[in-house]
Amino acid sequence: MFQSDQVGIIPPMVSLWTAGWGWVDEGVATTAPSSSAWPATNTAYYFPIYIPTICQAKRMWWVNGATVDAGYNVEAGIYRDAGYKPGAKLITTGSVAQGTLDQLQWGEITDTTLATGLWWLYMSCSSSAATFFRSLPATYFDESFHFQQASIGPGSAPATATPVEGAGLYFPLFGFSTTTIT
């Protein structure tokens, strides 16, 4: 997760794929991102991300897959770390209707400053029929790289996470933008 000579430089798009910030490209995933159904209705997932330099999250984003419906809802956000687990909620988009298929979708948030350290990206969806771009992790990496929480639908991100160990092979392509370019 660490590229020493890139420290201090803020990339425009931050995700689990961002070298030096995320980790998916570093031998953890076995496939390029592609469309796949959300693992479980109203289930939230938390993924660790390392912020090597202070930055500002200006928008959340995710990548819709081949099957979408405006009746499906999505929520994405950022949680604080609490002893190497997701802790208190920092910021989320609230519930957002899923947009256009095979497109990156923005989710508005208040500009939020992130200090150096470990943070957790959060995403939930109201339907297991909704699809998003994701990569498959190698099986033995799965539980090591995320937590999850059942009965958490979009719009109900908990003030404090009470996660359990992750299960299932699903690393969604999502994150935050440090710019407002559209």
Partner: protein, 179 residues
């Protein structure tokens, strides 16, 4: 400044180039493969983000050429506000498969976020890169701009392209790192 002169002030162990694999926050993603996609759209400039780790002087800008093409290219570097700092101007692309670089006016940049831009005037011309299902290049911060000519603009008007489906491996440039 000649390359011979500048090598004398290279930092020990420092690199002499910046490119979008090493400095683009995008490792060669799982499932990706080297490809020679056609440019696709005449005068669609692609801007690839790179992190420049230290103060350095840009001597040349370039890309990795592929064999199809009789058109022209323009390669440039922009700051994070979209201002063009230097560019090669119109250059014949040619058909030789190799890294092509062009001298530019020595230009000091860094550290920080920059965009290296490539524009082609022929949609069927090919360059080396990696295919990536749209819109994953957008998710990696690549920006585009449809221009009316081959010349890269003094100030970019950036947009994300939800249909961009490849990442050009085009952005090698020679630099000299200075203190």
């Amino acid at each position: 400044m000649s390359l011979q002169t500048t090598t004398s002030v290279l930092w020990a162990g420092s690199r002499h180039s910046i490119d979008n694999v090493t400095n683009g926050w995008m490792t060669w993603q799982a499932g990706a493969s080297s490809a020679v996609p056609a440019w696709g759209t005449q005068y669609r400039a692609i801007y690839v983000p790179v992190g420049v780790p230290r103060r350095c002087i840009v001597l040349e800008l370039g890309f990795v050429n592929a064999s199809t093409g009789a058109g022209n290219v323009d390669v440039g570097i922009y700051n994070s506000a979209g201002v063009r700092l230097v560019s090669t101007g119109t250059q014949a692309k040619g058909t030789t498969t190799s890294i092509w670089t062009y001298n530019v006016t020595d230009t000091t940049i860094g550290p920080g976020l920059y965009y290296i831009a490539l524009n082609l005037d022929t949609a069927t011309d090919t360059v080396y890169g990696t295919t990536a299902t749209a819109p994953t290049p957008m998710a990696r911060g690549l920006l585009t701009e449809t221009l009316g000519s081959i010349t890269l603009p003094a100030t970019a008007t950036w947009a994300y392209d939800q249909t961009l489906a490849f990442v050009p491996l085009v952005n090698a440039l020679l630099v000299t790192e200075i203190s």
